[in-house]
Amino acid sequence: MTNHQPGRRRFLAGLGAAGTTALLSGCVTSTSSSTGAVTLQSNLSAPQAKAAMEDLVAAYAKKGSGRVSLNTIAAETFRTQLPTYLTSANPPDVYTWYPGSVAEAYAKKNLLLDLDEVWQTSPDLKRYSKALQSLCTAGSGKKDFVPTTYYWWGMFYRKSNFAKWGVSEPKSWDDFLDLCDKLKSRGVAPIGLGAGGNTAWVASAWFDYLDIRINGAEYHRQLLAGQHRFDDPEVRKVFDRWQEVLPYFDPDGTAVAFQDATTALLNGRSGMMLIGTFFADAAPKDALDDIDFFRFPVIDPKVPLAEEAPTDGYFASARTGRRDQVHDLLSYLATAEAQEIYIKGSSGTALPCHPDAQDAGTPLVRKGRKHIEEAVEITQFFNRDSSDALQPTADTALIKFIAEPKNISGILTDWQREAEKIWKA
């Protein structure tokens, strides 16, 4: 027995040593990687969008100039992990994300790769609209984002249902209130919301739209950046207007998630809904042709017309070890060809950023494109124009307002206090 013990000890020691070397070599190999495929971290985890991304990666590989390894991550995990990715010593190279103030927060901390060279050399990006160019420019004057697609928000409804109820699209705020009255008298919940479940953020669309209609897009952006206060009289006007339509909201509006609310809309249990085109991803194919939308009614004609059209695209980590490959990939993603591949593979309600790229070509998408082109100002959405950290403060304030509209003064005071904590952080 005693003879055997040293052997066993040596074996265990060897095992330990082997384990340690394996651990250490794991660390070493993971840090040395300036060659190889570009890693693309994607939050597009919905089945259709994920498949479209896979098509896109395959098409890029076929081109032969470089390879991409796609890493799809659940949207919520991606959002919470993004700061960790960007600050790690060996980060993924390219990320799906949003331009504007969300990207600016990282740009200020020097975490984003300077993309001036891509914008200067790419024949495609030079032709992008002025609005997109300024959206992708950081506060330092450098480009740090490549936009690829965008979508729009509007008042969506079913054409067949509106015909059945004998109502039509409203043009003004008063028309809109009349429409709500008529729908209510027919026993339909006029306005669906879908701010329950885990999608309380949908309510922010109402705040955004009322604010850009009453106070304008410029004021709205400043407000979200902390240059105005949520308890200012201007913001109060937004909620006074909201109170006029609040009685027409579906009483279950804050109890069901937007997916259930859009189902209710498609089933004719609610009349219309302020929502983005992404809801069509889950709509049955036969309902798609029956879906239409109208512009959120203009309240003050003197305010420049603004619409919400969130832009999606890519940025890259400043700490990437594959700068040239990243530049090559991003120039490819900016081409009309790449954007068409993505739109074809996904649900097809997104619009390409490239001026020459073909959209899905349905009447709905053509109308959407015109809808955005008519706007003087474009806003993104509450969280994209401020930060993901500010979004929960809006959720709390807006859901409480819908439940207790009489308490608006207290709600706005609380909102300002909570928002200050975020702005100061």
């Binding site: 027995m1 005693t2 003879n3 055997h4 000890r9 265990l12 330990g16 919470t80 700061p83 960790t84 960007l86 600050t87 927060a105 990282y106 901390k109 975490l111 329950g196 479940g197 885990n198 309380a200 009483p251 279950d252 804050t254 109890a255 069901v256 259930d260 993901d388 950290a389 979004q391 929960p392 403060t393 959720d395 709390t396 304030a397 859901i399 409480k400 439940a403 609380d414 904590k421 975020i422 952080a425």
Partner: protein, 311 residues
Amino acid sequence: MAVLTQPAQKSPAPQLPRNRRVRGPRRTPALVLAFVLVPLLVEALWVFWPALQGFYLAFTSWDGVSAPTFIGLDNFREMAHDDVFRTAALDTVLWLVLFGGLSAVLGLATALLLQQERRGVGFYRAALFLPVVFSLVATALVWQAIYQPDGVLNRLLEAVGLGSLRHAWLADQDTALYAVIVPALWRQIGYVMVLYLAGLKGIDPALYEAAKVDGAGPWQRFRHVTLPQLRSVNAVVVSVIIIDSLRSFDVVWSLTRGGPYHSSELLSTYMYSTAFQSLRLGYGSALAVVIFVLAFGVIASYLVRAFREAD
């Protein structure tokens, strides 16, 4: 091998143990040391070090991206004036009392009911224990469907003529917290029941015989035999309940995310949302420290008392 080599040794057999006894305490074998130190190192690296960092972060302001800045006790000072923290703390106490209290009482009651070996009792035990096997997130999804405005619960109420009680259970600030406690209880009762069943099995039947001979009724037997005999199990149950109450997160997060407007907020969900949604990781860490102190304080004081009584 050992049998073969032993007779070959010159030294007399009785001396061997004495030799070992002398050498033993002086030198611990390297292998034993390795078995103690390697797991300790792993534990230190993966558990103690992050925990210590958490304590340090509680005294900083940190957004997860830039370097944390030390701000002393400011996070704890802010907590003193934070309405949401107060709501979350009160809700956590309410949760501890309702969730903890009811699961202990109902767990004991079902254990007493199902302790006798009768036909079919295994089925009922399994049925009550089954929810423990399910993931809490999956449980929450099922209950979310039940609580929907046109879900099972509301339809049931309408069917029995109580349509006026129809409710958006999870979206109403008056009902959200209680609606979340029910699924958590549904699961916990089965767990506590199993703990108590094990405890009841360990009681000597002779004690009941003796009590019966002395003329004790069922209530007296329960009060003076069962309860005192369950004391050691109680210590486990109380610890489990307090830990489970303070770490309750998944049910609440999947059902309401602490909403509507913080009305079902627990300390755990508030910690998560401040840290990972508002990206105020310093304040979030300070909340985590408070939760740790509460859990550790309550359990430590209970265990110390319980063991002192046992001695």
